[in-house]
C-alpha cells in the first residue's frame, strides 16, 4: 500500500528538509532524505540516525523533485543538507520547461 498521499507533508529525520507530496503513484516505495526514511509530520525520528554522507547533496527551496518514471513528485518547502531519494535512487530536480521571453 502506498503510504504517501498527495498533499502530505513529510520531513527529513536527519536534516531540516521538509517536502509536500505532489504525486505518488509509484506503489510500494520508501522515500528518504539524507539516507533516512522521510517521516510524517507527527512522527519522531529514531535515536541515533545521522546524515549519510553519500546522500548529502542538499535540497533546494521551492524546487520540485521527481524520479525517472515521473511517478513521484515532491516539492521542497524547507531546504536542508540531505538529498531526496526513492528506494535509494536519488530524485532529480524537475524544472519547468523553458519558455522564451514574450517580448
Amino acid at each position: 500500500m502506498n503510504p504517501y498521499k498527495p498533499g502530505a507533508r513529510l520531513r527529513s529525520a536527519v536534516c531540516t528538509t521538509e517536502v509536500i507530496v505532489i504525486a505518488a503513484t509509484a506503489g510500494d516505495v520508501v522515500l528518504s532524505c539524507g539516507g533516512a526514511p522521510l517521516l510524517a509530520e507527527e512522527k519522531v525520528a529514531a535515536a541515533g540516525v545521522t546524515l549519510d554522507a553519500a546522500a548529502a547533496q542538499g535540497t533546494l527551496l521551492g524546487k520540485r523533485y521527481t524520479n525517472d518514471a515521473g511517478s513521484l513528485e515532491l516539492l521542497c518547502v524547507k531546504p536542508g543538507a540531505g538529498s531526496l531519494a526513492a528506494d535509494g535512487i536519488a530524485l532529480q530536480v524537475k524544472g519547468a520547461k523553458p519558455l522564451p521571453s514574450s517580448d
Binding site: 519547468a96 519558455l99 521571453s101 514574450s102
Partner: protein, 349 residues
C-alpha cells in the same frame, strides 16, 4: 470652439495642438454621425482635448451621458482639461489634467505613437468593467497587437544597432524561508533586475511555492542591488517569433494571475527605480512599501507598447483608470510621495 496657443513641446515643436473643445462643442458634434470622424490615430486628430470646467452650465445630464457613451468608443485618447464639474463626463474621458500645458507631455507621446495611445485607452476603458482575471487576458491580446505594430517595429529597428551584455548572477530570483515567511529577491543586480524570461520563470516558481505551502503566512518581495526593477529586459525585446506566440507565452507563464490569486499574502518592498513591470507587478500585492528614494514610471508608450505585465489591471485597481492613463500616456516619473498620495503604494519606509 476656442483655439489654443501652441506650447513648444520638445521634439515635435511643429505639430499643432488639436482644438480645445468645450462641452457645448462636444454635445453638438455628438449629435452628428460624422461629428468626430477625424478623431483617429490614422486621421487628422490623434487625441481629443475637452475643456470640462463648468460643464454643468452648458448641458443637461442626459446630453452629457450620451456624450460619455460616444467618447467611450472614440479610437483615441480623450484628455479632459480643468476640474471636472460633473461626474457624468468622467465616464467618457481617459485622463484629466489641470491645464492644456499639463497635457503637452501626453500629447507628445500620443503624436509619436498614436496606435499605442489608442490601444492603451481602449484597454483601460474595457478593463474598468471586467474581473481582473479577464482584464489580464485582454491586456495580453492588446499588447500582442502592438507588438505586431509599425510603431514598435520602428523602435526595434533603431534599437538593434546596440547590443549589451551584463554579468548574470547564478539565479535570477533568490528564495529564502524564515519561519513562516518567504523572502523572494529579484537577483539580477547587474541588469538592475530587468524583467527577463529567467527572472519571470524564477518569480513564477517562487510564487508556486507560496501557493502550495499554506503554512507560509506571507512572502516579501524585494530587489537586490541599486533598484527594485527597471522593467522588461530591452535585450530581449523583439526576440519573440510572432505576436500570437508571445500571447501564448504570457498565458503559459502568467505571473500576473498568480500575483492576483496570492495578493493577500504578498508584500513588496521597493527602492529607487520601479519602471514598467517593476511597478506593475508590485501593484497586485495587498501591501506595497517603498523607500523614500523610490520613483515609478510607465514608459512603454515611448516604445509603441503599453504596460503588459498586468499593470492595466493592477495599477488601475489601485489608482483608477484616469491616473493609470496619465502615467502610461505621459511616461513621466512619479515620486514615492505622489505614489503614496494616489494609493499606488501603502507606506514609505
Amino acid at each position: 470652439m476656442q483655439q489654443v496657443s501652441h506650447d513648444n513641446h520638445a521634439g515635435t515643436a511643429t505639430t499643432p495642438l488639436n482644438p480645445l473643445l468645450t462641452v457645448s462643442d462636444i454635445v453638438r458634434l455628438c449629435r452628428m454621425p460624422w461629428g468626430l470622424e477625424n478623431y483617429s490615430p490614422l486621421l487628422e486628430h490623434r487625441y481629443l482635448l475637452l475643456d470640462v470646467a463648468g460643464a454643468a452650465d452648458h448641458a443637461g445630464r442626459e446630453a452629457l451621458a450620451t456624450v460619455a457613451e460616444r467618447l467611450r468608443v472614440l479610437p483615441c485618447p480623450v484628455i479632459a482639461v480643468g476640474a471636472l464639474a460633473v461626474p457624468e463626463c468622467l465616464r467618457g474621458v481617459d485622463v484629466v489634467v489641470a491645464t492644456v500645458r499639463d497635457a503637452t507631455a501626453l500629447i507628445r507621446n500620443i503624436d509619436e505613437h498614436p496606435l499605442a495611445a489608442m490601444t492603451l485607452v481602449q484597454l483601460l476603458r474595457h478593463n474598468e468593467d471586467l474581473a481582473p482575471e479577464q482584464g489580464l487576458f485582454v491586456e495580453s491580446l492588446a499588447y500582442a497587437s502592438l507588438q505586431g505594430g509599425v510603431e514598435f517595429a520602428k523602435v526595434m529597428q533603431e534599437a538593434r544597432k546596440q547590443s549589451l551584455t551584463v554579468p548574470e548572477s547564478d539565479s535570477a530570483v533568490a528564495v529564502e524561508r524564515n519561519g513562516d515567511e518567504l523572502h523572494i529577491t529579484l537577483n539580477r543586480p547587474g541588469a538592475r533586475n530587468a524583467y527577463s524570461a529567467a527572472l519571470r520563470d524564477g518569480l513564477y516558481e517562487a510564487l508556486q511555492l507560496l501557493k502550495m505551502d499554506q503554512t507560509l503566512e506571507r512572502a516579501i518581495v524585494s530587489g537586490a542591488g541599486s533598484c527594485f526593477s527597471v522593467g522588461g529586459d530591452l535585450r530581449e525585446f523583439g526576440a519573440v517569433s510572432d505576436t500570437a506566440t508571445a500571447h501564448a507565452i504570457r498565458a503559459s507563464r502568467n505571473v500576473g494571475q498568480l500575483l492576483l490569486a496570492l495578493g493577500a499574502r504578498l508584500e513588496f518592498r521597493l527602492h529607487r527605480a520601479c519602471i514598467g513591470a517593476g511597478i506593475e507587478l508590485p501593484a497586485f500585492a495587498a501591501r506595497v512599501v517603498a523607500h523614500s528614494n523610490t520613483f515609478m514610471q510607465l514608459p512603454e508608450i515611448t516604445l509603441g507598447l503599453l504596460p503588459g505585465a498586468g499593470g492595466t489591471v493592477s495599477i488601475a485597481r489601485r489608482i483608477g483608470r484616469h491616473r493609470t492613463a496619465y502615467l502610461a500616456l505621459s511616461a513621466r516619473r512619479i515620486s514615492a510621495a505622489t505614489a503614496l498620495q494616489w494609493g499606488l503604494i501603502d507606506a514609505i519606509i
